[in-house]
């Protein structure tokens, strides 16, 4: 069981900044995120796009913002459970919460801060009638263990980076890799497109374009896919079908936690501390809603800061504290580091 002071669900900008603000109050944080890396949308959807409305940064790439936030909170030694989705929450008799992920990892904390943005990123599933029948029986929407494909016939569908990258990777592992895309053009890094071109010429990747998988067949597990290439329809034998059509955010299991939901977001008390209808559970950043809500990173930072003050009161009832300024007090990391402003020089002028 992982224990912490504030359990943060979502490792996007708001979640990461919470670690810093909580650290100033001597509170430890642990973050859970369905994505394999921190940064949320900033690192998953648009790492190379500039953001222009972060105060004091006239321009910063979303990926760089993530790096800076990681650097800023590093001294407070946040824990991470990445690549796992927070699925269930149980309130304990002592008022704390146990949050369990889809992989069974358990976390215990007196305060839970949901900073889940638009939700956890789930793979977008193609509209093939019987696809659900073959899930985990040859159909996988994400490649988690490449070894699963060793010496197997794999059909990958999609036209973006992940379809290209996995086709390249599996061309060395699988006995046969077929990449199917609706268009002749691919949207990805130039290197990846060129590499696939090379592997196609070398006969290591079968490329079928412009085409679409429209059906799946097999007895208990997938044995072939039906491919429609312009007017032609044919079957392609395979052991695995991996559709890679990107990820789309879904509020997911959090919607069943008994929280008040409005407009696909969690209602909070914005007059005070962004607490939800369940005491001890807060919602901050894009995942919450209140009158006048704006989904901006800078608003998430503000909400995280106020939330931490309320978390302090829950964790340290009755213990006095006043807001301190980092320029005056410095920053004491949990890792033993200390940052502080240099003292003014006091010296007589003779």
């Amino acid at each position: 069981m992982i224990t912490t002071d504030i359990l943060i669900i979502g490792a996007g900008p708001t979640g990461l900044f919470t670690v810093f603000e909580a650290g100033l109050l001597k509170l430890k944080c642990h973050l859970i995120d369905a994505l394999p890396q921190p940064g949320g949308q900033c690192s998953e959807i648009y790492p190379k796009k500039p953001i222009y409305d972060i105060p004091a940064y006239p321009e910063i790439l979303a990926g760089d913002l993530t790096d800076k936030l990681m650097e800023q909170c590093k001294q407070f030694e946040p824990g991470f459970t990445l690549g796992e989705r927070a699925d269930t929450i149980e309130k304990q008799e002592d008022g704390s919460f146990i949050v369990t992920t889809n992989k069974g990892t358990k976390h215990k904390a007196p305060v839970v801060a949901i900073a889940g943005g638009l939700g956890s990123f789930e793979p977008r599933k193609p509209l093939i009638d019987n696809i659900a029948d073959y899930e985990d029986k040859g159909v996988e929407y994400m490649i988690k263990e490449p070894e699963l494909y060793r010496d197997k016939k794999v059909v990958i569908a999609g036209g973006g980076d992940s379809a290209l990258d996995w086709s390249i990777f599996l061309s060395d592992v699988a006995s046969e890799v077929t990449l199917i895309h609706r268009r002749n053009e691919f949207r990805g890094h130039l290197d990846s497109v060129e590499k696939v071109q090379e592997l196609k010429s070398a006969g290591k990747i079968n490329l079928i374009t412009p085409a679409e998988v429209i059906g799946l067949e097999g007895n208990g597990k997938i044995e072939s896919v039906t491919v429609k290439q312009e007017a032609k329809v044919f079957k392609k034998e395979c052991d695995h079908f991996v559709p890679l059509f990107g990820l789309s955010p879904k509020l997911g299991p959090i919607a069943d936690w008994g929280l008040e939901i409005e407009k696909n977001a969690i209602k909070v008390n914005n007059a005070l501390d962004y607490q939800t209808n369940i005491p001890g559970i807060f919602a901050i950043g894009d995942v919450n809603t209140y009158p006048g809500k704006l989904k901006l990173i800078l608003c998430g930072f503000h909400e995280a800061t106020l939330m931490c003050q309320a978390a302090y009161q829950i964790i340290n009832p009755g213990k006095r504290y006043v807001l301190k300024y980092t320029t005056v007090s410095g920053v004491d990391g949990f890792d033993g580091t200390r940052k502080e402003a240099p003292k003014a020089v006091v010296k007589a002028i003779e």
């Binding site: 959807i45 648009y46 193609p126 509209l127 053009e185 949207r187 059509f245 955010p249 696909n264």
Partner: protein
Amino acid sequence: MENQDVNITIIDRDGVTHKIEAPTDMAMNLMEVVRSYELAPEGTIGVCGGMAMCASCQCYVLSDTELPEMQDDEEAMLSEAFYVKDNSRLGCQIPITPELEGLEVELAPES
């Protein structure tokens, strides 16, 4: 001052027709107009913020209104999206301009 609004007809995902006025001077796009009139629930449209990266604002163009030509990123996104038809466009890639007067679109299903 001259009225800078254009009249647009939007059929929402429940099949309800909305005749709305959209400002041409606020640098808005069609996806944002749908959100401003709350014609689709928040979180189901404009998910990526308008970067042609999610296709949640896909719509079918029903009128023969002349629209700005499709750029590579929009075309690439539509080639990976679901429920795509010949008249599919991404709302976020259609800026609201006076040329849009009389435009009629239907929102594609959520996917």
